[in-house]
Subunit: 396 residues, 2 copies
C-alpha cells in the first residue's frame, strides 16, 4: 500500500467544518440548524456583480492573466487610495481567495522548518497553509480578559530565532473581533523590521468596524514597505465568498516577483469571478455602509443576548463578525456536538465552531467556541437562546 | 531586508510564459503574434456552459462545497462511466483546475525531500508544484526518435529508492502529443504497485486522440485502485480554461481523505465556474466530436507544413494538441526570442515555448521548442511559414 505524507496526516481538521456530519444528521432528523460556525454572510452580493455575471458577453471562457487583469488591479488601486494606501497595479497579484494569497506568501518566504509567529487564537486555516508548506506556527497567546488585544511585544521578541521569517496578524481579527490600534500595528511592524522579518497582515475585514476606531493598514506607513505583505479578498466585503477572488499587495518587488512564479505555475484565477469582483468595486459606498450598518445591529443584539447569560465570558467584537465565547464546560467541542445530537428548541438548534482549533498551543481554548454573527437579528436571538437553555441542560 | 525562501528563488520561470515581455514589445511595435506557446484553445465553450452563466439565478454568491457539489460529482461519475471508469461521488474532489489537483496530490503523498519520477519532457508546471512542496522531480528521459514513447521500465526501476513516492505521467502527453498504450500504462502501474508507489496520471486530454488508438485510463483496471490517482479538468475538453475547474479521482479513500483536509483549508472551488463546468457535462457528445475533428484537421495541416522543412525533427502528436520540434539551432530560446524581436512576415510573427523548461535534466531540450496547435489551419500555415523563413534568416 502506498503511504500518505506526514504533513497530510498531521494537518488538523478545520474546526469550522468538522462537526458538519452531526449537523447533517440533525437536518435529516428534521432539525433546522442555525449556522454560527462559518463566516458565510447572508447579505446579498452587490447587484453590479450579479448583473455583470448575467450580462457576460463571451463565447469562450479563456484563461485570465496569471496576475489578474491590469484593469482590475488598477481599480483595486483606486479602492486602496480611498483607504490611504498608495499602491500600483504591479504591487498586486490576484489570487484564488485570501487562501491562495497566504499559500503563495508562505511558499515565497519560508522553506520547510521555518517559523511564522502568530498571536492565537487565529484563523484556523492558517494552520492548514502552514502545514502544506511545512512551516511551523509559533503562537503567542492573546487573552479573553484583555479582549484579545495584541500581547506584549516582548512575548513576540522572545520567540524570534534564526528560523523565524514572519509575524502574521489578522486585522480586524477573525476569530476574536479585535481591531488592532495604530500603535499596536506600528509596534509589531517595528519589531518585524528590526529583525528583518516580514509582517503579514490579513485585512479582509478592513471595513467591518463597529466603533469610532479607524482601521490602520500596514501599508499606510512607508517605513514598512520592505517588510509588509497585505492579504486581502473581496469575499466578505462584498459577500462574494463563492467568487474566490483575493489578492496579495506588497511594495517589496522581490517578494511580488517570487509570488508571481507560483502564480504563473497555477495559470490563472477564475475569469468570471474576476469580472464579478471587478464590478463590485464599482458599487457605490452605500453598499458597504449598509452592510456595516446591518452587522453593527447584529452585534448589538448578540452582545445584548450574551450579556443575559451570567456564567459565560465573551470577547466584545470591535470588528469583523466573530466573537469567542468562554463556556462553563470542560470541553466545548463536546457541548457543540451535544447541541447537534441531543438538543433543540422548536426543532431548531445551533452549530458552533469549537475554538481549540483556533489555537496552536495544545491546551488552549478547550472551553471556548467561536461564533460568526452572519445571521439576522431574529435568528441570532433564537440561537443564543438555544445556547442558554442548551447549557442549562448540558450542565444539569 | 527580509529574505525570500530558497524554493521561491529556485522555482523556474514558466517556459510557456517567460517570453511574454518580448511578445508584448513586438505587439507595441505593431507586430501581430501567433501564439503557439500556450494551450489556450480558440474553440467556443459549450453553449450550455455560457447560457448557465448568463441565466444564473442568485442574489448572493456563496461558497461552494469544499469537495464540489454532490450533483456535480454525480454527473462526473456518469461522464466517467462512459469511459469505462466506475467511480462514485466520494472518490472525487473538485479542485481549482488540474493545477490545484496536483498541488493537493503532492502535499498528500510527499514530505520535503521526497521524490516523484516523471518521464521528461513533461508539462513544465509540474516543476512548480513540486518545488512548492519541496518535492524532487526525478526525470527519465523519453526520446524524440521514439516519438517520446514510455522509456523502458528498467530505467524507471533504477530511479526508485526509499524517498520515491510516486510515478507521474500525462496521457495523452503535454508537451509531446504521445498517447500511451494500454500495455505501457499497465507496465508502469505494475512497477508502481510492486514498489508501493502511487501512479498519478494526468488525463486532461483524454478525448484528444487522432488515430484508432483507444485511450486507456489508469482507473479502468481495478488492480491499481490502491495506487492510482487520476488528475482531470474541464479546461481543455470543454474550452473552459478560465473556469478553473479540475478534479482528483481516486479509489484510495485514505488518499482522498487527506486531500480533503487541504481542500477544506482553502474553503471552496469557484461557484459560478462549477455551474459552467456542470452544464458542460450536459452538452451532447457532438460537442467533443466536433472539437476533436477540428484539432484533427489542424494536426494534419501542421504535420504537412512541418514536413516541408527538412532540417528539423518533430514528434507526431497522436493526442493532446502539442508537438515538440527539434530545431537546427544551438539555443532554441534564443531563436524564439529572435522571432519576437527581429523577425516578421507581413507584420506577423510567432511565439514558441522553448522546450528546455519541459525537461528536468539540465542539458536536455535546448534545441527544441513546444508548439500548441490551438489556432485555425490558416494561422498554423502562416506560423510554420514564419518559422521556416525565420530559421533561414537566423542560421544565415
Amino acid at each position: 500500500m502506498p503511504t500518505i505524507s506526514k504533513k497530510g496526516l498531521n494537518i488538523p481538521s478545520s474546526p469550522i467544518r468538522k462537526l458538519v456530519p452531526y449537523a447533517d444528521k440533525a437536518k435529516q432528523n428534521g432539525i433546522d440548524i442555525l449556522h454560527l460556525n462559518i463566516g458565510q454572510p447572508d447579505i446579498k452580493s452587490p447587484i453590479e456583480s450579479i448583473d455583470a455575471i448575467k450580462n457576460i458577453d463571451i463565447e469562450l471562457l479563456k484563461y485570465e492573466y496569471s496576475q489578474g487583469s491590469h484593469k482590475f488591479r488598477k481599480n483595486l488601486c483606486s479602492y486602496y487610495s480611498g483607504h490611504n494606501i498608495n499602491v500600483s497595479p504591479d504591487d498586486i497579484i490576484t489570487t484564488v481567495g485570501a487562501s491562495e494569497a497566504l499559500s503563495f506568501t508562505m511558499n515565497s518566504i519560508c522553506d520547510p522548518g521555518d517559523e511564522v509567529i502568530i498571536p492565537e487564537p487565529f484563523y484556523a486555516n492558517y494552520n492548514g497553509f502552514a502545514q502544506a508548506s511545512d512551516v511551523k506556527v509559533i503562537p503567542v497567546t492573546s487573552k479573553i480578559e484583555d479582549n484579545f488585544a495584541l500581547p506584549s511585544i516582548e512575548l513576540f521578541e522572545k520567540k524570534i530565532n534564526n528560523r523565524t521569517k514572519a509575524i502574521l496578524i489578522c486585522n480586524p481579527c477573525n476569530p476574536t473581533g479585535y481591531v488592532y490600534s495604530k500603535e499596536e500595528i506600528i509596534n509589531i511592524a517595528n519589531l518585524a523590521k528590526k529583525n528583518d522579518l516580514f509582517i503579514i497582515v490579513d485585512e479582509v475585514y478592513r471595513e467591518f468596524i463597529y466603533s469610532d476606531l479607524k482601521h490602520f493598514s500596514i501599508l499606510e506607513d512607508e517605513t514598512f514597505f520592505d517588510n509588509a505583505i497585505l492579504i486581502d479578498s473581496t469575499s466578505k466585503r462584498y459577500s462574494l465568498c463563492g467568487a474566490r477572488i483575493g489578492f496579495i499587495v506588497s511594495k517589496n518587488s522581490k517578494f511580488i516577483e517570487t509570488c508571481m512564479k507560483f502564480a504563473l505555475a497555477r495559470l490563472s484565477p477564475p475569469t468570471v469571478a474576476l469580472i464579478a469582483a471587478n464590478n463590485a468595486l464599482k458599487s457605490d459606498n452605500k453598499y458597504i455602509d449598509n452592510v456595516i450598518k446591518e452587522y453593527s445591529m447584529r452585534r448589538k443584539v448578540l452582545i445584548g443576548e450574551l450579556s443575559k447569560i451570567n456564567n459565560i465570558e465573551f470577547s466584545d467584537p470591535m470588528g469583523a463578525f466573530y466573537s469567542i465565547i468562554k463556556l462553563p464546560v470542560k470541553n466545548a467541542e463536546e457541548f457543540a456536538k451535544f447541541l447537534l445530537t441531543d438538543f433543540s428548541i422548536n426543532n431548531e438548534s445551533v452549530m458552533l465552531a469549537p475554538a481549540a482549533g483556533f489555537y496552536s498551543s495544545t491546551d488552549n481554548g478547550k472551553d471556548e467556541v467561536r461564533i460568526a454573527f452572519v445571521l439576522n437579528s431574529e435568528k441570532i436571538k433564537r440561537a443564543i437562546n438555544i445556547i442558554y437553555f442548551g447549557l442549562k441542560e448540558y450542565i444539569g
